[in-house]
Symmetry: C2
Amino acid sequence: MSAENLAIGIDIGGTKIAGGIVDGNGQILRRSFRPTPGQNAALTEDAIAAVVNELSDGNQQLPVGIGAAGWINRSGSHVLFSPHLAWRDEPVLERLEAKMNRKITLNNDADAAGWAEHRFGAARGEELSVCLTLGTGIGGAIIFDNRILRGSFGVAGEFGHQTLVVEGHRCPCGNRGCWEQYVSGNALGREAAELVRLNSPRAHNLREACSADPALVTGAMVTSLAANGDLACMELIEEMGHWLGLGISNLAAVLDPGVVVIGGGLGSASTSLIATAEATYRKLLPGRGYRPYARIVRAQLGADAGLIGAADLARHDR
Amino acid sequence: MSAENLAIGIDIGGTKIAGGIVDGNGQILRRSFRPTPGQNAALTEDAIAAVVNELSDGNQQLPVGIGAAGWINRSGSHVLFSPHLAWRDEPVLERLEAKMNRKITLNNDADAAGWAEHRFGAARGEELSVCLTLGTGIGGAIIFDNRILRGSFGVAGEFGHQTLVVEGHRCPCGNRGCWEQYVSGNALGREAAELVRLNSPRAHNLREACSADPALVTGAMVTSLAANGDLACMELIEEMGHWLGLGISNLAAVLDPGVVVIGGGLGSASTSLIATAEATYRKLLPGRGYRPYARIVRAQLGADAGLIGAADLARHDR
């Protein structure tokens, strides 16, 4: 692999800034990490620069791509909004480029992850693919004709905030019934906490795991108990699988993708989640019987997808 | 306008086959019509050929584009399914080309209409636009980067069959709660018939219009009474506007279009429908305040959009 094909990829999450040098086949050759400095924009930008400088080791020619957990405007210059990071309609690209004195490419983290699956993972060879990153919420990416479909203002792929249940659970976005209130680590934790609160006889393992304090229940607790055969937690995951399948069927009505790739921490924590989602999707797809089904598959690149995709986008896109 | 820019466009609906010679500016120079011969595929194809032959008047060089109210496969060769026409997974293109001994381009009618609005109408200049054709159901088109986004199997844009209400009204598609069960001429007629059936004191004009027989209520009856100031019918249209705005907000979460164009018989019958939809959309758009709003506008080409788009696609696409 020649040095011209190398690029630096940075994935900025709510807790961690992960960086790596990535080659043209999507392999990570070196890594670097920093904690994300909470809700402070200047410190976050300093930490990004530190990771980039450590990885580039004096080589200013390496392209740098960033994937950030926020809404990026159409031209890739501004972070419009980020639920977990400090930026609010700020010219992040310009500031970072000035700070590091090099060209940078900025993308949404779920878009970067979807791009990585398109180039090197589970969506290879598809003209139109949808990638869901299931974590605390739902991240989304649409890849069409070898491009990220970003929308007119840069904010396409926000699948998690489709209203799926009229007058349903309240969402921090301000609406009710958003898909991610039914499919996410947060939703799983909320439902499990409710079982503990109601003193459900089926939730004895859950109650033990959280020391009978509903506030201590997490989604990860549920997936882990379910993997160990706890029936209440397995039911919660099955319920979530139905909601996942219903939302995928809605996406298929709009986009008709060839493949739906499911990644993220929650997506990879449970095989039964995807199996249930696929069964529901096959029962609900509009026009079933008169059209092919999209494949519903697990992501292949795991937690590195965002970093790999960000690096590749620095070479290919924008 | 030179003769090379002319093309024949054919719009096949459930009741009528409309054809025209269309120039490169989207103007219709000549027209021809035939009734659609119900659920008989061979007779439908004969009628199409008759319209094309009448319009071409011996000129076999004119490109021919067809927009049909059905699901067309990705390559444009087969009609997979049509709710109102006779075709079921049939090689319609091959048969029509053999019958007329000329090359033909086949598209979904809502895609053709959306394409026409993109090229000559309300969506000009937008990189990403969504077009809704509101009639007995909801037809949809997505135009991105000067192409129709057809999906991996040709069936993208079936917005009307997104589940909007879990366990909602049954839809002929087999599911419940589809968007078009809340936004369509059929939905409007169903709700108005219910008011008549319940002997609602607000529905006296409706009852008079249908001679007190709920089975005779139509959506067109409601839009016409509403236009004349009937309060019950105006309320029904306002309710429908809310559902329309909610669905548009969901589409914006997925696609982030620059413009949403609303056409079709129902779409053009009521200005208050679109105004209410826009108000609801602005209240529900995920991330409102941190992103621009798409424009919500009426279609500009009226009932000719499908025909004009089909002709233009014969010159440009596939």
